[in-house]
Point group: C2
Chain length 199, copies 2
Amino acid sequence: MAAIAPLERLVNALSRLPGIGSKTAQRLAYHVVAQDEAWVRELAESIYNAKKKTAPCPVCGALSEVGMPCALCEDPRRRRDILLVVENMRDVVAMERARDYNGLYHVLGGVLSPMEGIGPDSLRFGELMDRLKDGEIKEVVLATDPDVEGEATAAYIGQLLRPLGVKVTRIAHGVPVGGELEYTDELTLNQAFRGRREL
Amino acid sequence: MAAIAPLERLVNALSRLPGIGSKTAQRLAYHVVAQDEAWVRELAESIYNAKKKTAPCPVCGALSEVGMPCALCEDPRRRRDILLVVENMRDVVAMERARDYNGLYHVLGGVLSPMEGIGPDSLRFGELMDRLKDGEIKEVVLATDPDVEGEATAAYIGQLLRPLGVKVTRIAHGVPVGGELEYTDELTLNQAFRGRREL
């Protein structure tokens, strides 16, 4: 079938989104062109505006609205003596959804990964050190993912922070709530056993 | 967590796409804002252009580029004496992918569905009748889906076309190639049996 150029272009653009294969991209593209123009304009504009009107907060690195103070850094109800270090913005959203943590965040923007050429200079380590200078933060919680890169990154930050005398902790690993022991992998089970607590 | 307005707007717009739930929409939105501006602009523009620069062909109803002759209607290599009637543009794409049919198409734009208020006036029946007037088309193949609405729509078109003396056929129903008899539903098995052919 002869290609319809504007549609092909859309299918290509949509296929670059994570988790969207070429069949899904085609289905979405036909859906888009079948909608009325206002609907399509809203979708296109919201994509462009989300990029143009947001930027990482210069302090914590979490996504913020351009020209607005970062809602997480500025919130007077949050504790300012504890800092949770995460890999990316989605981790901040996940922690906030859990509604338990009420301190500050520091978004690294990734993890150390020599294979992908991501070294200490690519991550927000310098900004982290700067935030600890005035001594207001008493505890840094390392909440990188419990995978190889995440553990290595946590260990690296631990070494960086040791000379500063600040308390450094790591989030607990173990059997997820609602999970089943028999389906839990060996590494997690080992961590769950080692991290056992008295009842 | 305090809402980031431009991001919320994008998550809302993305969640209106078929098969995209709120979690996927959020994941896609964070992915989008993490890309560089040229990438995001290409996505936004391709969405808007796909809508602005395409329109249904006034003859066959298949999606075409605005200001360009419909590639399906104008192709001189296609037979002009046979017309395949389908529900929507995605059906045209599926038939073309099968690479066997080489005639003309007629896209109805849906099926009769009294429950959803879609009557004969909402579909491209008038345009279909117009195309048959000059007698060039000798056979009309009804290829609406083999579900309740598709069968009803095929039956309705059959009645419309009978007075015109044109040959009207319906695509075959049966066990799909590569399918297994034991997992095939009863209606399909009945159709497969009734449509049996001598070897």
